[in-house]
Every structure is written in C-alpha cells, then in structure tokens.
C-alpha cells in the first residue's frame, strides 16, 4: 500500500502536464439499475445519494452538473427520473453539450450486471450495455472520462470502454464474478470518509477512492470469513487491461490526478498567491520540496538508510516550516 501511495506522489509531478487543468469542471452522472429486491433498491439508492451529496457538499460540484437516475420508482422523484436506457443516453447527450472541453466526466453505474450477449447493467426496459456507453462516450471528444461500474459481472466493461483520457473502474475482474458486490458501498463511502485521503493533501483522487473501496471490500470479505468473489479493476492507461493493484508506471497514474472537486482545493496555490510575491515564493518552495521528497523516495533503495533518513527528515522539516509560513502569511 505504501508503494501505491508513493507511486501517486511520484506520478503527480510527472503527469502534471497531461492532467486536466485546474479550472476543469466536473460533470457527474449516477445511474442506478434495477435492484430486484427492496433491500438492493434501498442500498443502491443510499450509495447513489451519498455520492451525489458528497459531490455537491464536500467537493463543490455544481448541482447543475449532476444527474442521478434512480432504478426504483420509489426513488425516482428524489432523483431526476428513472434510469431507462433512453434516459441515460439523453443525460449523456445533454452533458456532452454542456461540458467544457477540459471537463471531467464522472459516470457511476450501480446495480446488477450481466453478460447475456454483451456486458450489461439491468435497467427498466432495455438494459444499458457496454456497447451503448462506448458509442455515447464518443460524444466527449476532449474531456477526461471516468466510468465506475460498481455492478456485479462488470469486469468486461473495462475492455469495451478503455481508451485515451479514460479511467475505467469495475467492481469485478470478469463477467463470471456474478455475486452481488459491495464495492459500490465502499466507493461511495470513500467520498465521505476522513481516512480515504491517504496522502493527506486534503484532496481525494479517484485513485484514492478506488484504493479505499478495494481494500474495504477485501476487509469485509475477510471479516465475514467469505471467499473474495469480487476483484475490482482499474484501467487508465488505455491498454484495455485492468489492474487490481495500481502501479507507478501503469494503471493508476492518471487516476491519481483526477478529483471530484473542480480544481485544487489546497488552501494555497500558485494561482491563489499571484498577488503576493512572497507568498508565491513560499508556495513555489513548498511545491518544489514536495517534488524533491517524492524524488528522494524513488532513490531510497539505492541509498544508505541513515543518509536517506537524514535527508528525508531535513526536507520534511523544511517543508513543515514552509507550510507553516504559508499558513501564517496567507488568508485561509
């Protein structure tokens, strides 16, 4: 796990140029399929509303950018209608028309999946298939798209949707993992949990949310003494091959830089300090130190332990002092 986090940090510097710009907006579509039983309807609705609430309240995604299509009629009013195939297509069409060129399109599918003929999510009326979504997503020519399919048997969606500027997350690694999944519960929970932000930079990346959910799924199965029957995958390098565990060079690199919130929320950024040259210098120094620490960590295995620790401590102290100076100087 430490390795994964380190990877995210290292990558943060490396891919800064390819990540969405700080002004990018987030547009979110949550689709809940048929539950089949009241307990599923209730659980799916709870996960969906939790995600929507987090997006709005914690991550400041504008309400106008969020669509929630409910699976059960009893929740249709609370949502923006029911999740028919047509409704999903309509929502995406509208979103494509509204989304800024550098926007992040965040699509979450919740429900029961299957693969009769092709991978699908069970909806009222015709099901939503991976093929449908693949076609509709072509309408987003420049945006970064994240699709999170939390349904059972969702693994094959990854291959259908993988591509450039795409982050595809599935709750299972294949269509043969058919049992009901709990990934969705923990994925939604990641956006409310205090401990999902593992690098403590006050932002929750898609990679962190994936990691949080993946690990909580494993923990749940272990504590229930059950055999793990869902293995979540992430693919963000467009190679159509998902990874269970992200790495510093493959899947996870892009997801580490994708956030629900539009733009940085760290209290002090270079942009925010434009009118205060001294503050800007501190922020530059802080950002530089963070990069240096990340680089130092990549050299760890080739260094003497004592030298590494000494250097690390010195840099961390300098970073801590710099952060304090920024705090003291700038407005909150």
């Amino acid at each position: 796990m430490r390795f994964v986090v380190r990877a995210a940090l290292v990558v943060a510097a490396a891919i800064a140029l390819t990540a969405p710009a700080a002004t990018a907006q987030t547009h979110m579509l949550v689709v809940v399929g048929l539950g089949g039983e009241a307990r599923h309807d209730d659980a799916f609705h709870e996960w969906a509303t939790s995600l929507v609430a987090s997006a709005k309240e914690r991550f400041n995604v504008p309400a106008a950018n969020i669509r929630y299509l409910a699976g059960s009629p009893k929740y249709a009013a609370e949502a923006q209608g029911r999740s028919t195939r047509e409704a999903v297509e309509r929502a995406l069409t509208e979103m494509a028309a509204r989304a800024e060129p550098d926007a992040v399109i965040f699509i979450v599918l919740i429900g029961h999946g299957g693969d009769v003929g092709e991978p699908r999510l069970n909806l009222t009326g015709p099901d939503l298939t991976a093929g449908d979504l693949a076609i509709w997503l072509t309408r987003f020519g420049t945006q970064t798209i994240a699709v999170v399919n939390t349904a059972s048997a969702s693994g094959e969606w990854l291959q259908a949707l993988s591509g450039e500027r795409r982050i595809i997350i599935t709750a299972t690694r294949s269509s043969s993992e058919r049992y009901e999944t709990v990934f969705g519960r923990y994925f939604a929970q990641a956006f409310t949990a205090d401990d999902a932000d593992t690098d403590k930079n006050s932002r929750l990346s898609l990679l962190e949310a994936f990691e949080y959910a993946r690990r909580e799924v494993v923990r749940t199965y272990e504590s229930d003494d059950k055999m793990l029957s869902e293995h979540a995958l992430i693919d963000d390098d467009g190679d159509k091959k998902g990874s269970v565990e992200p790495s510093s060079e493959g899947d996870g690199v892009v997801a580490a830089r994708i956030f629900l919130d539009h733009g940085p929320t760290r209290a002090f950024t270079l942009e925010g300090a434009a009118n205060d040259p001294a503050l800007a210098a501190l922020v530059t120094k802080r950002d530089s130190l963070e990069r240096e620490i990340a680089q130092l960590r990549t050299r760890r295995s080739s260094m003497e332990t004592a030298a590494y620790e000494q250097q690390l401590e010195r840099m961390l102290l300098e970073l801590a002092v710099t952060t304090r100076q920024i705090r003291e100087r700038g407005p909150r």
């Binding site: 796990m1 593992t198 690098d199 504590s223």
Partner: protein, 902 residues
C-alpha cells in the same frame, strides 16, 4: 523444486493407484468365481473362499485322505488351518506329508510359512531352502519368504539382493508367460520391499499385485497384500476399497479384517478396534492383530492392556518385532528401565537393525508428549538404517515440536526424498515453507510467529499475555520453563492442524509441545467462538505441566489442570459449565475418574471429550479447594518420579481414587445440584437438557404451563425470552431473574443476563445493565458483543476505566476491529495511560489501514504525549514520508524539532 517434483509424482502415483485399485480397473476380477463343487477339493476351496473354514478344513482333510500323495489338498488344508490360527495342526499336517512323500518339495514352503508364524525362524529357513532346492512349484514364493526372513533378522543387503533378482524374474516371466498368480504376487512383494530404496517402485508393486489378482481372482493373499501395499503408500481410500472387496466375498477373512482395522486407524476412525477384534475371533493367534491391538491400547495409555496383548502375541510368535516394539514401549512409558532394556536387547538379538522398534518408540514417545525421547529414538533408528524413512520423518516432526526448526526441516527433507508419498511429511514441509515467511515478534521469554498479515497486530498482544501468563504460572508452580518459548499462530486452521499432527482435520484450538506452542489465530475461527487469550493461557499451562513432570503427566491431568488455570487466570476464561455437561454428568454419561483418560483418548461419543475437559477441570477445582495448590504441585512431582501411571490420589491426597470420586460427586451436588435439578427430568435422566431455544418454543401455552413451575429453569428462561420478544419487559424480568437464581452459571447463547441488561437499559437503569453484563462476561468472556455493550454502558456512566477494561477484554476474542482499538486508545488517552494508547494505536497500524499515514501519525502522537520524543520523531517521519503534505503531522514534527536535536 521439491514442491513441483513431488506434486507431479504424487499426482501420477495417485492416478496410478486409483486406476489400479478402482472398481472399474478391478472389473476383470470382479465377478466372483463360480466354482462348481465337482470334487472334494473344489468344494473345500469354495468353503475356504467363503470363510467357512471349518468346512474347508474338513473337506481338504477328506480330500487329502483320499489322495495322500497329492500336495494340493494338503496345501489347501494348511492354508485353512493357518487362517484360523491352528498353526501347530498345520505344521503337523505338513510334516506328515513330507515324511510320507520325502521326494516331494511341494509343501516345504507352506510349512516354512507356518513355522515363521510360530516364530520358528531357523526351521522356517530350512524349509524354504528345501522348497527352493527341490524346485517346488512355489519355489519363487519360498525365495521371497527366505528374503523376508533375512530382512527380519537384519541382513538387509542379502535380502535386497534377493528382492532385486525378482525384477529379472518378472521380466523373463513376462516374456515367456510362465508366471503364475503366486509368482506375480511374490514379484510384487519383492518390488514393494525394494521401494524403500526407490519409491517409484511402489507403483510397480501395486501393478504386479494387480496382475497377480487378474491371473487368479481367487488369490486372496495377493489382494490382502495389495491392500497393505496401498496402505503403506498412504492411499487409504484405495486400501479400504481393496479390503472391502475381500470382505464382501468373505466377511470372516482375518487378515482383511485386520487390514480394514489398520486402514481405519490410518483414517483416525474411532471404530478402529472392532474389525481387529473380529479378526481375532476367527484367528485368535493372528499375531499382527494382537500387536495392533496392543498398539491401540498403548495409544490410549492403557499400559496393562497393551502389555497383555503384546505378551499374548509373543506367546504365539516370540520373534514378532511389532509385538516386541509395543512391549518395549509399554516398559519405556511405564519407566520400567530394566524391562525396557531387556526387550530392546531381545529385539536387537533378533534383528540388529530393527528400526521399527525405534520408529514405534519414537511414535509412542511423541504420543505421550515425550518429544525429547521421540527425537532420541528416531535418531537411533536412522543411525541403524539411513533408509528408515519413517524414522527420519519422526525425527523431523519431533525436532520441529522442540523448536529445532532447521534440523527438523533437514530431517523431513531426507524423509521426503526417500518416501515422497508420505503425506504427513509433505504437508509439514509445505507448511514450513509458509512458516518461514512468518515474521518474528520477540519478547523477553517468547518468540512469536504469526502470519505476515497479522503479525504486527497479534504479535504484541500475544507477547504481552504470554509474558503475564509466564509470570503468573511461574509464581504459582515455583517453576520456570526454559526460554525462549516459541509460539506459532496460524490464521488457517488447516495449517495449525498440519503443524500438530501432519494432517488437516484436527479439532483442537491449540497445542503445547513444551517449548513450542501452536494455536489458531482468532481469524481462523468464527468470531465469538474462540477466546484466543484463554487458549494461549491453557497451552502455556501445559508447558509448565510438561516441564514439571518431565513430560510424564497423563493427558486427563494436564488438560483438566490447564482448564482450571484458564479459569483462575481471569474471570470468564475457560469454558463455562454448560447444561449439556451437567445433564451428561447427572445422566451418568461421563467417565469414572479411574478411566477419565479414556474420555480424552477414546471418547465413547463425540461430546464426551469436551465433557472430559470440564470434568477434569472440576477435579482440580475440588483438589485446590480441599487440599490446596501444593497438592497439585506434589502430584506433578509424583508423575515426574513415577511416570504417568502414578497413583497421585493415594500418593498425595492419601485416599484412593474411588474415595476421591465420592468426594467429587458430593462436590458436584453442592455446586451444581440446584442447577441440575432445575434442568428438569431430561437433565436428571441424562437426556439432552438445557433451555429450549426461545425463538422456537414448543408452544406459548406449553411454555407458560411449564413456567408455572418456578423450579423449571428451561421454562423460566423460555418464558422470559417469550415475554421479552413481546416487549413485555416488566413481566419478563421475574422469569429471567428466576432462571438466574436456579442456574447462575448458565452463560450460553440464551443466557438471561443479556436480556436483563437490555431491559435495564430500556428502563433507564444503566448501572443495573452494567451489572448484568459484567456478570455475564465474568462467567463467559467469549461474549464479544457483551463486552462491547458493557463498554457502551460504562462510558455513558462516565466509568472510563471500566469501559476501557471491557474493551480490552473484548480484544482477547476479536482483535481485528479497528474501531474498538481507536475507541480504546481514546479511553486510554483520557486516562493518560500512554502505554495503552501506544499499544492501541500500534494495533490499528497492524490492521493495515487505508489511511496509513494517519495511523502512523497517531502512533507518533501517542509516543509524544508519553514523553517518548525520539520515538515520536521516528514515527511522524514515517507518516510524512507517505504523506508529506500532512499538515497535522508537520505540526508535530515542528513541535518535536522544537524540543531540540536528536
């Protein structure tokens, strides 16, 4: 490398055996031979094959009388007489024939075989030689028998040369097609003995037996040998099928019955004795069956019975190495050194390389928990014969039990090279591969090995409790076992089982070999079913008992005393006294104290073993009450001096065991009389007792009717549950209170305490609720949820220390809930118990949290508040290494830096 090579070999062999021994493969010989009784000899054979031995004897004798110069009926007669144990009659018949037909070599081999069964080795050897030199039709079998005689007297090189020659015999015979069924069986046996040196030959032996059987489906001897070969190759189910097939045709075949008993023993079946005893009903002189029963008696620590059986076997065959080995074991385990030496000397005189003696002694020593001796005997075995693979296996396993891990592995690898089909060895070596990856947690006197996923969490808790237990037990016993003691904690019960017995399926939770303790991790069991703290205390108690008695304490004693120690250690530890135990006691379904050990080693019914633990533990409660703790120490000392058969009741308590039993009965009546009476008629009669499960009571009316009897515990409890479910709490209370009065020690799943606590909570009486929950957890500390509920209640009452104590107690049942650790850390923080805070923050870290940086920071903070500035510095840097932008951690680092440099 080993795994791959062996895996494929095993797979091939398994396939080979399965194919050879399966009913389909045996189809060729499956149809029972329909032999028309055209002559007396034929009728005799029909009777013989059907197990009608008296009839067969009579028919064969008549046929022989009709044709006194023909060997065939005499051979049949000798076989029939031999099968029922009339060896001397068989010898006489053969000798009569040989005298009357001095030029015929045909019966010399048969005579030799029977002489060998009577232990007349020299005469047998001469007889086999006569058969060979006379070119008898069964001279090949005579050659095999001669080689076996040589092997049995330790002339291994010569025996091996002869066995080797059978391969040529087979190859030539196949070419010429001149090998009879008996010849093929002889080849099979020779190849089977050669497989000691080349394990792959075991498969060829099986195939050759198969060919022998195909050549003559009535060759039952070949079938019996096939079964034995399969059993030697650890193919238990195939062996069982083979013996079952023989018995389907002749349920009275003594050697097939014995083979079945041996197979059942291999399978650890409790019904092992019955077929062996039946074999003796048919052939009371079947020496291997006597030796086998003697061995079983020894395994259940019934030394007298073992000695009797072994001596009876030796009366029949004074050269029986198996019987001598058991007899040596009896004397060794009873501490009779002179007799032991005498039997050992006698064995060596018969066979100077009798490794079987040492294998048996090693096995028996280990079964009697004398692992040092097991190692010593196994070493003697391998010193005599480096190809004694079982001795190597025993050596390795027992070295591991003593914590000699590297040496143990080497020995097992040697065993495995020689016998790659030994599942015990393979399982153990596979386990060792995993165990190598278990990180070590070291404390002053313990080395703890838990799986890497659990080590960081469990290591500190196990270490802390083990240290506490060591101190407490050392004070109590005035004895300090050698340290470090090794503790292995397995998250997979099958791994624990393999560590203990080499196979999966062991029902126990933990085991102590003295210097090594192995146990299930709490993650290996369903949560709430396993109090790992209590188990650890139990096993460490054994380590003390074994050390103090020089490993000579009988099982009932150390098990009962260990449970007693659990109960003494903490309130609620050790199993509570359950209704079914009381019912079994009052119903007379427990063992008498005189044979209480049988309840452990040979329970009469599955539950009896658990009851025996309870019963034995109560024996110690009584001894300590009436005679003091010193009596227990004196008993252990007496075992050390006199061995496991020491009469500790007479020697220490100055009363015989029957008198003590009467006192025990009185104690049980005093302590549980009311509860037993309240359990009702079922309890009194020993039927299943205890409360009916409240969710499914017989009917409400029935329960209500029975509950009018205020002395009916089950009805009071059931009525309380019913009314609680109906939310008629005020009405439920008196029933629940009455159930408590009647059987205050009942802490089972339907206990009244939990409901009463909930009622008190609803009524706004948290103190009363806390009292109920505290009572419950002090009766049975395994109630995880009750600990948590108690902590909740106490926290609302502002009893922070009490709440912390309750949560701490819960961790001995389930240490895997991060919320409980975080909560306990917070409670310790408010109590300023920084060591506790650090422990709990470390536990969260051990649970591998998603928020690792946060967990590291909290460890750092705990150290900082405890005044451990340098530790705090180290931990906070680890947090920031992961999350450099973590501002709270940065603040702590600056604060630490403000205290000055390192």
């Amino acid at each position: 490398m080993r795994g791959a090579a062996v895996g494929s070999t095993l797979a091939l062999l398994a396939l080979g055996w399965a194919g050879l021994a399966s009913p389909a493969a045996l189809e060729a010989r499956e149809p029972a031979p329909v032999i028309q009784a055209r002559s007396g000899a034929d009728a005799a054979q029909v009777a013989f094959l059907a197990g009608q031995y008296d009839e067969a004897i009579s028919q064969y004798a008549a046929a022989a009388a009709r044709n006194p110069s023909s060997a065939a009926p005499l051979r049949g007669l000798i076989a029939a007489l031999r099968e029922v144990g009339r060896y001397d009659d068989a010898i006489a018949a053969a000798e009569r024939f040989n005298r009357a037909n001095p030029d015929s070599p045909e019966l010399w081999n048969s005579l030799g075989e029977v002489l060998r069964l009577r232990g007349r080795r020299t005469e047998a050897e001469a007889a086999f030689n006569r058969a060979i030199t006379g070119r008898a039709s069964d001279n090949l079998t005579a050659r095999l028998n001669l080689a076996l005689l040589r092997r049995d007297r330790g002339d291994l090189a010569e025996a091996r040369r002869t066995f080797d020659s059978f391969i040529d015999v087979y190859n030539n015979g196949v070419t010429t097609g001149r090998l009879s069924s008996s010849d093929l069986a002889a080849v099979a046996s020779a190849v089977r003995y050669l497989s000691v040196y080349n394990p792959q030959l075991a498969k060829d032996a099986v195939r050759a037996y198969q060919e022998a059987i195909a050549a003559d489906p009535t060759n039952i001897d070949a079938q019996v040998e096939l079964g034995q070969a399969l059993l030697e190759g650890y193919a238990g189910s195939e062996a069982r099928s083979t013996f079952e097939e023989i018995l389907a045709k002749n349920e009275r075949h003594p050697r097939a019955l014995l083979g079945m008993a041996q197979t059942l023993h291999f399978e650890s079946s409790p019904e092992v004795e019955e077929p062996a005893r039946r074999s003796l009903e048919i052939n009371p002189n079947l020496t291997p069956a006597r030796a086998f029963l003697a061995r079983l008696a020894l395994e259940r620590e019934d030394y007298e019975e073992a000695r009797r059986e072994a001596e009876r076997a030796l009366e029949i065959d004074s050269t029986s190495l198996d019987a001598l080995a058991v007899l040596a074991g009896v004397h060794y385990l009873q501490g009779n050194t002179a007799a032991f030496e005498e039997v050992s000397r006698r064995t060596r005189a018969l066979n100077p390389v009798a490794t079987g003696l040492y294998v048996t002694l090693a096995d028996l020593s280990a079964r009697s928990r004398q692992y040092d001796d097991a190692v010593r005997f196994a070493q003697q075995g391998v010193a005599l014969d480096s190809a004694a693979w079982r001795a190597w296996a025993h050596l390795g396993v027992n070295q591991l039990r003593l914590g000699e891990m590297a040496a143990g592995r080497r020995s097992l690898e040697t065993a495995f090279r020689g016998d790659p089909f030994d599942v015990w060895t393979k399982n153990t070596l596979d386990l060792l591969d995993d165990l190598d990856l278990y990180p070590e947690t070291a404390t002053a006197r313990f080395r703890i090995y838990a799986h890497e996923k659990e080590s960081a969490l469990l290591g500190p808790y196990v270490g802390e409790l083990a240290e506490q237990a060591y101190d407490a037990l050392a004070r109590r016993y005035g004895y300090r076992p050698a340290t470090p003691i090794r503790i292995e904690v397995f998250p997979n019960h099958a791994d624990f089982s393999v560590r203990t017995v080499g196979l999966v399926g062991l029902g126990a939770l933990g085991v102590s070999f003295g210097p090594v303790i192995a146990m299930d991790s709490p993650s290996a069991r369903e949560m709430g079913q396993f109090h790992w703290g209590s188990t650890l205390w139990h096993e460490l108690s054994h380590t003390f008992h074994l050390g103090m008695s020089d490993h000579r304490v009988p099982r009932w004693f150390t098990e009962g005393l260990a449970v007693h120690e659990e109960r003494r250690s903490h309130p609620g530890w050790g199993d509570d006294i359950a209704p079914d135990f009381l019912a079994a006691y009052s119903g007379g379904r427990l063992r008498n104290l005189r044979d209480l050990n049988e309840g452990f080693v040979r329970p009469a019914y599955p539950e009896q073993i658990g009851y025996s633990y309870q019963q034995a533990s109560l024996v110690f409660a009584l001894i300590e009450r009436d005679f003091g703790a010193q009596a227990i120490l004196d008993m252990l000392a007496l075992y050390r001096r006199e061995g496991p058969n020491a009469d500790v009741f007479r020697g220490v308590l100055d009363m015989d065991i029957d008198a003590f039993e009467r006192r025990f009965e009185q104690y049980m009546r005093e302590r549980f009389g009311r509860a037993m009476a309240a359990l009702g008629e079922g309890g009194a009669r020993g039927e299943r007792a205890g409360p009916p499960a409240p969710p499914q009571p017989p009917s409400r009316e029935e329960v209500a009717r029975r509950a009018r009897n205020a002395d009916d515990f089950a009805a009071q409890l059931a009525m309380g549950h019913l009314l609680f479910a109906e939310e008629r709490f005020d009405e439920a209370m008196p029933y629940l209170e009455r159930a408590k009065e009647l059987y205050p020690e009942y802490a089972g799943p339907q206990n009244p305490y939990r409901l009463l606590a909930r009622i008190h909570q609803r009524k706004g009486a948290p103190r009363a609720a806390a009292a109920e929950l505290r009572t419950l957890t002090r009766l049975a500390a395994r109630h995880y949820d009750a600990h948590i509920e108690l902590a909740d209640v106490l926290e609302t009452l502002g009893d922070t220390a009490g709440a912390a104590e309750a949560l701490d107690a819960a961790l001995y049942v389930n240490p895997f809930d991060a919320n409980v650790h975080n909560r306990l850390a917070a409670l310790y923080e408010s109590l300023e118990r920084w060591d506790g805070v650090i422990r709990e923050r470390m536990a969260v870290l051990g649970l591998d949290p998603v928020d690792r940086a946060g967990a590291l920071y909290r460890v750092a903070l705990a150290h900082f508040r405890a005044g451990h500035v340098q530790d705090a510095r180290s931990w906070v840097i680890r947090a920031l290494e992961i999350a450099p932008a973590f501002e709270e951690a940065q603040g702590l680092l600056l604060e630490i830096a403000g205290r000055g440099p390192r």
